[in-house]
Each structure stands twice: as C-alpha cells, then as structure tokens.
Amino acid sequence: MKKYNYYLLTLIGAAALLSSCGNQNGGGKSSNGALSSSAAEKVYVAPGEQDEFYAFMSGGYSGNLTVYGLPSGRMFKEIPVFSQFPTSGYGYSEETKPMLNTSFGFVPWDDAHHPDISQTKGVLDGRWIFINGNNTPRIAKIDLTTFETTEIIEIPNSAGNHSSSFITENTEYVVAGTRFSVPVPQRDMPINEYKGNFKGALSFISVAPDDGKLNLEFQIMMPGFNYDLSHPGRGKSHGWFFFTTYNTEEANSLLEVNASQNDKDFIAAINWKKVEEYVKNGGGEKMPANYAHNVYDEHTHTATSTMKKEVITVDPTKIPGAVFFLPTPKSPHGCDVDPSGEYIIGNGKLSADLTVHSFDNMIAAIEGKKFDGEAYGIPILKFEDVLAGTVKSGGLGPLHTEFDGKGNAYTTFFISSEVVKWKLGTWEVLDRKPTFYSVGHLMIPGGNSAKPYGKYVVAMNKITKDRYLPTGPELEHSAQLYDITGDKMELIYDFPTHGEPHYAAGIPAELLSSKSKKIYRLTENKHPYAVLSPDKARVERNGKEVHVYMSMIRSHFTPDNIEGIKVGDKVYFHITNHEQDFDVPHGFAMIGQNTSELLIMPGQTKTSLWEPKKEGIWPFYCTDFCSALHQEMQGYVRVSAANSNVPLTYTLGE
C-alpha cells in the first residue's frame, strides 16, 4: 500500500507538471496568426493550383500513410500499408491478402510510425518511401510512381519496431531497431529474468539499387535496452548509424518509474560499414528464423508471400570498433543528425536540455581509447569527451529535431508544447512558438537529409482538444504549419491529420508529380486471370470453384448475366478494368459478399471472392461513379440450388 501511494504521488506530480506547463506556454487563444492576411496568402493555394510540397504523414494506429500538400494542408490520398483498406480492397482482394501475411498469419493492422524517403548521396531522390509497422515488426516500401505499397518484410527477433525505418545516405539500407527487447530466440521464461537475458535486435535491410528489393542482411544483437529512435550518419559520418536507448535499467515492469532512474542512457553508435564487412567475410551466426517477405508485382498486380527461414545475427562485441555507447541524459527519444553529419542530437525527453554530440569528438575519443567502462562488453565513451554542447532551451521534454539547412535546428518539446529554434554551433535559442497541443515530431521537407528545403516546418501534435469543431470524444490529430523563412517562425496554418502521425517526410512536388503514373498499361498486364479483350471474357467451373474472367469499361461489365452458379460455390471474380484513361477507376461490389468492394484502376486486374449462400438472382454493380451511365453499370448472377442442373452461361447484351 505504501508503495502504491508513492506511485500515486509520482503520477499526480507528473500530471501537475504537465498541466502547469500547458498553462504557461499553451496560450491557445492568444495565437491567431493564421487569421492575419499575410498568413492566409502564404497557405492559400488557389483553386486549380497545386501545392509546393508533398508531405507523407504516418497514420500511426491507422496503419497507413497519408499524403498531404503543403502549404495547403489538403489531404490527397491515404495509402494502405499495414491495414486492410475497404476503400480499395487492399488486404481484402485475393491479390493483396498476401501483403499482410506474417509469421503470425494474416495480421490486418499495424501501427505505422516513421516514413523516410529514399536518398542518393544524402539528397532525396523520390523513388520510394519506407515506413515501419511497430506492433508486428515489419518494414514496408511504397513505390512513389504508383503511390502503392509494393513490398513488406517482417523483422524477426524484434518487438515494437520503433527505431525504424530510417535509411542510409544512398539507400543502401533501411534500418529497423527493436523498442522492446525480448528473449532471442523466443522461449518460455520468467519475465523478471529479463535483465541480462533479453536482446535488442538492430536490423539492416538492404535495398537493391535497381528495383528496391528488400533483403534482411544482418541483425546486430544488442543488450536488452529499449531502442527508441535512430538516424543515419551523413557526409563524414556516413557509414555510422545512431540509436537512442532508454530503459538501460532493463526494468520489466512499471517502466515509467523504473526506466527513468538512470541519469544517463545511451546513444548507440554503430559503424555499420564495419559490420557489413564482417558479415561479407563470413562473420555472424546463421540463426533459424521464420519471417514473411511479401512482394507486390506491378505487372501481375499480385502479391506473393514467402517465408524466410534464416537470419544472420551478429554479436557486436566480436567486431572491434563497430559499436560504442555515448552517454546521453534523460531517456532520449529523437536521435537526429544535422545535414553536415557532424552533430548528433539526443533529445532527452525527461530533461529541459538537448545534448549535442560531436562526430569528430567521438572519433577522437575512440581513437584515443578514452573509455568510461563498458556495458555488456560494449565500450562507453566519456560524456564530456563526445559532447559538443548543450542547448539550454528553457522548454521541457524535447522529443525530436530537424534542420533547415541554414545552420538552424528546430526541436519539439512535448511537455511545454512548443517548437524551439536554435543555432547549431552556438547552441543559442533563437525563437520559440507554441504548438496546439503537446507536439510529438516535426517535419521540414528534406529535414532528415543533407539537403533540407527549409521553408516550412510541420508540427504534429498529440492532443487536439479545441482546435476544430468538436466531434465527440474521439478527435483527429492536429498539425501546425510554420513559415521558417524569416528570423522568427510564423504560425500560418492549422489542419487535422488522419490517424496519429508520428512522423512525416516531405519532398518538393516537382520531384514526384511528373513521374506519377496515370494508368497501368493493359498491354503490360500479366495477371494470370486477366482478360485483355472483352471477347475473352468467360466463366469456368472447376468443381465447386468458379472463375469469372470479367472485363469492365464505361459503362458495362462483360459478362453481366451469369447463370449456373450454385449455393456452396466459391466464385472468384477476376475483373480487369479496360480503361486506359486517367482517373477512370471502376468498382465492384456484390450483394451480401463477406468482404470489401474492389476499386480497380485502369489496366489493373483484381479478384474478389464470393460464396453465395442463398438461391436467387443477385445483383452486382460498379461502385465508382464512372460515367453518365454509371447507374446502368450493373449485372445479375443467378444462384441455383447446390444440386440443380442449370447450365453455366454468361452473356452480355442478349
């Protein structure tokens, strides 16, 4: 009981801290920046005009990725990634079900966190965007010509895939670190034997330079801490990767208290080039594993899932000079590297200050072998030796930092609910602006690269409260847009975001818009059940399985009358959209079907499974208002008794 009271007091204290800071700096009503005419002009994108930047926002618990325009804050698309998406049939169609396959079977959801756009020489190249599934550890790749998820790889030996999915300077690797350490391999053991027995896997997944194919190359088996966020070195620090850790206490219960006891946790600095070389020379241990690798083929319009059975694990203590710990105060969250690659910023989330490490100091300390002990055989560098400076911000709860490419950094402060602008090198605070409310991450287009486009910063807030018209207890999250071209940041817009954006990636519109596909070419459709000309449309029975090879074009299905289907059949509608015109999708839905509709793009084939349960005449129709004759785009299927002799026929216009 005594213990309980202590915890309760702590909680009340924390709550008081949170609310008092909110009062000091929240100041919601005082800010009406967006109402001033200049702010309105800055965000106004006139009808028919287009935005300057794409912003890809993670959907958090929606499992997906949303696409917005900046500065308008208009949402263009929700890209289904880890979650079933009835709007398009993703995860429901026969072709896309394999995308959500895992070693746990079909998992229809995930918690999508940190998108990162591919880079070449540290500069955004706009080929792909990657995002991590946090809950059932996975990494997804989205093709930025189709804005569709084309690959998902599961990460074995990982749990809470949080310090992910960040890429190296030339997209050599997309990196995924585990937040929760777990027994490796998984086994039945007492939870309280965590300490010293659990492992934290940091996974390096290679990205093939031509087609982007993912392959899990190796996992570094680190001590059982929590690996929170990570970022690549760039420029002179290219070849290194930095991960923040917390719970270096290795607590297994009531972490909010027990993982907050050490004054300093670590940033783990990984020389991945050394590890890569070690593995190339036969180093590491091949370990049995079971993880899914799901690949979507744009030409067959079909995903395949392959179970992989082996992974190479690496013991970091066996590679001298590969891994070091940089002491960093107060359970750091964000781990951010400035555009030059010199500064590594640890955002100690229980602190008022930011800790900035210097890459040059780190190398000097390593070369001078100035170690301050070790943890599980990994050398710890001296805090004072690697420290470049401390930003005395006056804020509370720094989470994440990005850069404008002009020598300034912008850090979010969750507890004091603000964005703070400060100067790299002098560590001087230049400006601070409130956010509404409790900001998590922020994003500057290219802000996590060697070449930021420092015009806007988007703050992604965790709490919305009164920012928009109320919609009951559940609200969308809220984002704020600041103009950062002047000395002071200017709040210019406020817009709701879908799901819970944990992070976002922005890119100049012209890098993507010109190569965005308009249609899929019918002549390149290699789907095994596609019909490439309407005269090939047909229905085939194979026992209780019926395959309908159907085509669709404005404004009819071929065929649209089908007879000879029986109760208990499994009817597969394989439907090919024969349009080759931009923005003319057709939909398909069948009455009483235990699945979602399909939305089929021009030139694409999708398959829907229907298991008719009752005799009768059952209509299907196009769900996308495709044309003036859309309402006429319908058909009927006659379902007869299981033992009937009605012959299988299929017709159009008879």
Binding site: Q580, D581, A628
Partner: protein, 206 residues
C-alpha cells in the same frame, strides 16, 4: 529561271513533311479533360495526340452512337493518299529539274500547282464528306440520342476548320505541321511560276 526552277524543286520536296507530320489535328477538350484528347490525321491513318486518345475518343463516342475511328486499313484513302502525294512530289521535282535545264517552260509550274490544287480540294472534299458521314450516320440504338431545338438529330461532325462546341466538348480542328509544309510548298511553286514569268518577260524586253 534557274532560281525559279530551284524553288520548283524545293516546293514539292516540302510535301515530304506529310509522311512525317500530321496533315490535320482535331482536339477535344472538356471539363473532365483538362488535358484535351486529340487525334492527328496523317495521310496514312489517324493517330492519337497522346498514346491512348483514339481508344478514349472511341469510348466516349459510343455513347452517342458514333462508329469507331477508322484504322488505316478501313479506308482506301489512307493507302491512296501516300501514293498520290508521292507521285506529285516526283512529278514536281521532275518539272523543276527539267525547268532548270530549260527543257520545259515555267508554265508547267503553274500546271503542277493547278493539278495539286484540284487534288487538294478533292481531298478536302473527301475528308469533309467522311466527317459528315461519321458525325451524322449514327447507331439508331445509341445510348444518348440528342436533337437540335428544331427536332432534327444532332450532328457530331467536327468542323473542317476552326472551333465548335459539341455537347460538353470544345472541338478545335486545324491544319497541322504537314499541311503547313504542304501550303508553303505550294506557295513556292506559285513563286516559281511568278519568277519564271518575270525572267521570261525580262528576256523578251531585252
């Protein structure tokens, strides 16, 4: 006369442009088609201004009962026109060469021009007749049967030259690169005739 003959050779050679560039261009813009659909009419067939335009125009036309746009093999014109143009080029160049060596008089230049003009007018007449047939000879079971205010069935004949509004479409029909080259080529032959006439007069006044 030498200058005139050179022009008489160059003029017909400009007609070679017809084998590379479209003769005529018809663009169809609509609210739903901010990037208009278009067809380029070449002497040997109709091609889309963009890759899938023909298919998409046919797709739209089926609502009003128009037939599909003809493929090259569907119309005799598309096999005949290249031959006629080829023969006329050869003939024109031959006349120019003979003129250069003073084997024929400048009057032949005008003769070629007049023959080409007659063929051109016949071609235009034929083209227009095809458009009339294509735009008015509609499927009686068309999805949309629209009538003019006076009750006569609406025609979808594109204009031969210029712009017209057709339902939701703005249709613009204009000569294209091939036609302009042809036009310039014909002007060259007229100038050739004029220069020939002038040098003849000069030589007679001397």
């Amino acid at each position: 006369m030498k200058k005139a003959s050179v022009l008489m050779i160059i003029g017909p050679l400009l007609f070679l442009g017809l084998f590379a560039f479209p003769l005529w261009n018809i663009m169809l813009g609509a609210p739903q088609y901010p990037e208009p659909l278009g067809m380029n009419i070449h002497i040997d067939g109709i091609r889309g201004a963009s890759e899938f335009d023909i298919q998409n125009i046919d797709g739209l036309n089926h609502y009003i009962g128009m037939r599909k746009l003809p493929k090259a093999e569907d119309m005799w014109e598309f096999s005949t026109f290249p031959i006629v143009i080829g023969v006329m080029i050869a003939l024109g160049v031959l006349i120019g060469i003979l003129g250069f060596f003073k084997k024929v008089s400048y009057k032949w230049f005008m003769g070629w021009f007049l023959l080409m003009s007659i063929l051109g007018i016949l071609g235009m007449y034929d083209f227009n007749a095809w458009m009339v047939d294509y735009g008015t000879n509609l499927d009686p079971n068309a999805i949309m049967k629209l009538a003019n205010p006076d009750g006569t069935p609406m025609s979808y004949k594109p204009p031969l030259f210029g712009h017209t509004k057709m339902l939701n479409f703005d249709v613009t029909s204009l000569p294209s690169t091939g036609a302009w080259m042809m036009f310039i080529g014909m002007m060259f032959t007229v100038i050739a005739f004029y220069l020939g006439l002038k040098s003849k007069r000069q030589s007679t006044t001397k």
